[in-house]
Structure formats: C-alpha cells, structure tokens
Amino acid sequence: MRRLVTQLAAAAACIAGTAGGALAEPVNISDFNLNPRIAAKIAAGEELNIYVSYPDVSNEFAPFVLEGVARADAMDGITATVIGPVGPDADLQIDQIETLLDTMDGLAIASVSTDALAPLLNRMIDEGIPVIAYNTDNPASKRLVFAGQDLVQSGREAGKLMGEVLGKGKVIITTLNAAAQWSLDREQGAREGLAAFPDIEVVSTLNTGTEPQEIYGAIENAMLANPDVTGILSLECCSTPAAGTWVERNDAKGRVHVVGFDLLDLTVDHIADGYIDATIDQDPERQGFEAVNLLAQFLHGETIDDIDTGVKIYTSANIDELK
C-alpha cells in the first residue's frame, strides 16, 4: 500500500509539471475588430463589464469557480458578473447572454452544449464582443482562447492512475451524464489511459444521473451486477464521493479501488480515510479567475493565449495539504 501511495504521489508531481499545451493561437486586440461601444468605454477609462457564464450555477463545482470570479472582480476597472442557468439548460444560457448582449464588454463561457452555443458566440465575435472559453472548451466556435483543463488528457491521467492502482482486474466508469461532451472527452482519455494495461477490462460505462440517491443507487446496482469489479473510475465531481461511500459501506477498502475527479468535501474525507485512492483536481478557482483576467488583459491590449490549469493529483499522501 505504501508503495502504491508513493507511486501515485510521484505520478502527481510528474503530471502537475507536464500537463499543458496550447490549443489556439495567441491573440491581441489589434487583430480583433472591437465593437465601437466597447472601444469608446476603454478610451474613456470606464469600468468594463465582463460576464462569466457557467453552465449550471447550482452544481457542486460552481462555488469553486465563482470564488475565482469574485477574486477577479476585485481588480481595478473590471466588474465581473456570474450568470448561468440553474440546471444545465442551453436555451436558458443563450437567453441570458442575448438579454445582456448590449451591456457586455466581454464574455467568458463554459458552454452547456458546444454546438448549441457556437452560433451565438460566433455572432458575438463578428459583432466585436470578445469571447473566451473556460472550464469547458467550445472548439466549434470562434472563441479567442481557452482557460481550463484538457479533458481528454485529464481522463487519460485518470485511466493511467487506475491502471497503476489496480494492475489487473475489471473497471466500471461512472459519469453523471454519459452523453455530455466533457464526459465523452474524459471517457475517451480514460479508456486510452487504461488501454496501456492489458490485464484491465472496462466492463461498462455507468450513467448515474445527477441526484445523489440516484447516483449511489446506480453504483450499488452496478456493483451487485458485477461482483468481480475491483475498480471504479469516476469522470466527475459527484459520483466520486458516492463511489467512496459505497466502498466504505461495503467494507471494500483495498478490494475495490476508486479514482475520480475534483475536491468535494466528502471526496477529501474519503481520500483521507482510504476509501478513494486518488482524485484529480483541475483548479476551478483559477479557472474562474483566469476567465475574467484573460478578457481584462485582452481589452487592455495584452496578447493572450490558452491557459491549461493542469492536472493536480491528490492521494492520501498529500491530501493534508488541503486541511
């Protein structure tokens, strides 16, 4: 077990240092046909209104991102405002942006649906309103840059971690929404990462739904249906602690291994107690901050580029850093 923890910690250090990679060309306002209304505000030294649209302001992950936006809001000359639907509703996200379009000096967006949002984002770019993507990229649009985690890469790292923990055996992959783009990207990466371990078989991808009892029940049923599964790889924040809770309730510590994402309170507790082997953080606070900061820099004439917020791995070896 100690050897395993050491391996995971070493992997964490390695990955944190190497994750990254530009996805778009650096851009400068001189290459952008800025909307005259925004140009006049900059010239007059007026406060700039930057909106940060999050795909579901009611989910567990949102408060972390919002903390970063609040930090950015304290910058001089910038008013940063969070918008977004309660529940991942693309139509509502579009409606809110359209309503505020005339007052927007810049938009940072994590799209509910890349394809649904892309036409609006492209229209905004054409009208000279700068748009960047954060947290979840929107490659289907003409957004200027992206600040966030490379989802395929983070999935790959999760798969690799599971492979190192497990060595051989059967794995189920859990996700809140198997059809969402972020989930598909991470799943693709996870399967690629696991492919390097020929003695590991992915049994299925489990779509847990989003309601906590529903998530736990889905994991409970899947584990009963597949009693020979020894690994649960969660692709997101919310089925990760549920998988840890299942391990705790079923006395499966050491027999069933869990690798997941993000740092919800219960996930941190479960790592400290050994029910979850590892979790991958994507620095959501920084994502929220950079969403605003990149636009502020762009509007003030600085050249901006993609920011990869990286892959930080937490295990029982380093989880105390958070306490």
Binding site: S58, P63, D265
Partner: protein, 339 residues
C-alpha cells in the same frame, strides 16, 4: 345524506375485499410486477437474492414515502410538483442546523415543520387563492429550490464530525439513514411504517373518505358539508411533511447534500410511480397498495436493467415506455370494465 354515505355513493358501493382487489387497478399492477420479477430472475441469478431485494427496497424508500403523500394529493384532485425541491430544501436545512450545532431533534423538527409549511402554502395558494395546484406548485418548485441555493450559497452541506456535528447527534443521525432494524434498512422501515399509516388514514378514517369525496366531485362533497379547501390543504401539508422526512433521511444516508441536485427531478418519479400504481390524475381514485406496487415496479425496473447490463440510454427509454404502457393498459382495462 350524511358525509360517509355521500362518499360511498360516489364510490359506487362496497364489494368484498378480495373481489375489490381482483377488480381493482392494483391487481394489474401486481401481475405486472410479478411478471417483471420472474423475467429478471430468469435473466440474472443475482436479482432474487436477499441483498438485492433489500437494496431495491432501500432504493425505492424515499420515493415511496413521497409517493404515499402524493397519493393523498392526487386522489384529492390536486398535484404537487414542488416535492423534489421541498425534499432538497428540508434535507439541506436539517444539515445546516446540525452543522451549526443545533440538537438533532430540533433540527429534524425544524425540517419537518418547514416541509409542512411549504405544503400549507401550496394548499392555500391552490384553494383560497384559486391558483391551480399545477401552477402554484410549479412556482414553489422554483422558489423552494432557489431558497435552498440561497441558504447554502450553492455549496455542499456535509454532516460529519469534521464539520463540528456532535458525536451523539451524528451517531443517531447516521442510524436514521444507515442503520438497520431487524435486518431491514432504516429507510425501508420508515417506508413500511409510512405506507401502513397512509393506508389506514386513506381507507379507514373519515379524513380518507373526505379525500375521496373531494377528489371524486368537489361540488358533491361541498353539498354534503365537507370543507373542500381544508381537506386539500391537509393533503398538501401531509405531502410537504413527507417530502421533508424523505429529504432528511436522504441526508442521513448520504451525509453530503447540495441544493442544486438533492431531489432534482424527483417529483416526476414520484408522480409516475403513483400513477403506475393506479391513482388517477383526475382525482377520486387511488390506493396506497397500488402506489406501493407502482413504486416497486419503477425500482425493480431500474435495478433489473442495470443487473442485466442494458445500456444507460436504453434504460431511460425502457422506463419511460413501461410508464406509458402501464398507464395505457390501466386506462384500457378501466374502460373495458365500464363497458
């Protein structure tokens, strides 16, 4: 004509208990449940194991507790769409109070009173203010969910010792959600007790008679001296209280809740299970037995589809299909009997 005679007249007399069961809507649901269980037993040898059956029982318990309340509401001719949000807010509120250091009994009592209050508001809106309950509870669905998000600022509420919850209160809270009585998970034990109490209240008391009378014909009930508004308000208040209880048990089972997700969309599952069990949206018809069977059908189906390895997307399709088919068969058999 006194009150109970009016109700009996509306119900069309009283056949024997066994005949009533065989003729009743529950019989078809019961047969469907048996067929489903036999099929799943043949398809997967893990279905008919004590562990799995207890899992199913526990997994449907919270939905079942709320479905009992929903039976009262639907039979009275109303509907409550806010139950998922009430479940979330009240569970979260209990958690917030526990983390703030309030005693367990006070926290749970406050959660239940909050749920009852939401039900009372729904009742007043849909009776005295004459806002149709579909619209009134659609509004409170959103308001209550918003209140939960405001209360927590969207952050998860985790009830554990690390957050300062006292040892004795935590142990009791965890027992309520995770403990067992005679080998039965506590959530399931609560469901059994609530279902029995609901059955008694609906079929053996004058309150139950009044619920049927009001739902069957509000005008006739009013003429026979029943306070229609009062009956409906009590039904919705009961619903709110049971949603609060289910939310509290949910947080006791999974000790971390988040306002944006807890109980999200649960109202549709609760209404679907109640209707599959033979309760009509039009009011005046329904039984607790039918509701329990409806809840079990949904639970067994969800469990069985995972056990048999059906793809997650196909699962959603099949559950929807079963709800539609069950209600269609029910309508068909009802109209056949009428003819």
């Amino acid at each position: 004509m006194d009150e109970q005679m009016a109700v009996k007249a509306a119900a069309g007399g009283a056949p024997s208990r066994m005949r009533r069961f065989r003729l009743g809507r529950e019989f078809g649901v019961f047969v469907a449940l048996v067929v489903l269980c036999v099929a799943l037993t043949l398809l997967n040898d893990r279905f008919l194991t004590p562990t799995n059956l207890l899992n199913i029982g526990r997994q449907v318990s919270l939905m079942g507790i709320m479905a009992v309340g929903m039976t009262f509401v639907l039979v009275s001719g109303e509907v409550d769409l806010s139950v998922g949000s009430t479940y979330g807010l009240c569970g979260i509120a209990v958690g917030v109070l526990l983390v703030a250091g309030y005693p367990l009994a006070l926290a749970i009592a406050a959660g239940l009173v909050l749920g009852a209050g939401i039900g009372l508001i729904n009742g007043v809106l849909s009776t005295y203010l004459r806002v149709p309950s579909l619209i009134a509870t659609l509004g409170t669905l959103s308001m209550v969910r918003g209140a939960a998000l405001i209360l927590t600022d969207g952050k998860p509420v985790t009830v554990n010792a690390r957050n300062g919850v006292g040892e004795a209160d935590l142990a009791m809270f965890e027992f309520l959600g995770q403990g067992k009585v005679l080998g039965i998970p506590m959530q399931l034990a609560f469901f059994i007790v609530i279902a029995l109490a609901g059955w008694f209240l609906l079929s053996r008391t004058s309150f139950g008679f009044r619920i049927f009378a009001v739902g069957g014909s509000a005008k006739a009930a009013r003429v026979s001296g029943i306070n229609v508004a009062s009956v409906k308000i009590w039904a919705l208040t009961l619903m709110g209280t049971l949603a609060a209880l289910a939310g509290t048990l949910s947080l006791a089972f999974l000790p971390s809740g988040q306002a944006g997700r807890m109980g999200l969309g649960l109202e549709l599952d609760v209404i679907a299970a109640t209707i599959v069990g033979g309760t009509t949206l039009a009011g005046g018809e329904g039984t607790i037995l039918g509701t329990v069977l409806g809840v079990l059908i949904i639970g067994v189906l969800r469990n069985g589809l995972v056990l048999t390895g059906v793809s997650p997307f196909a699962q959603e399709f099949l559950i929807g299909l079963v709800i539609v088919v069950a209600v269609a068969i029910d309508k068909w058999s009802t109209s056949s009997k009428s003819n």
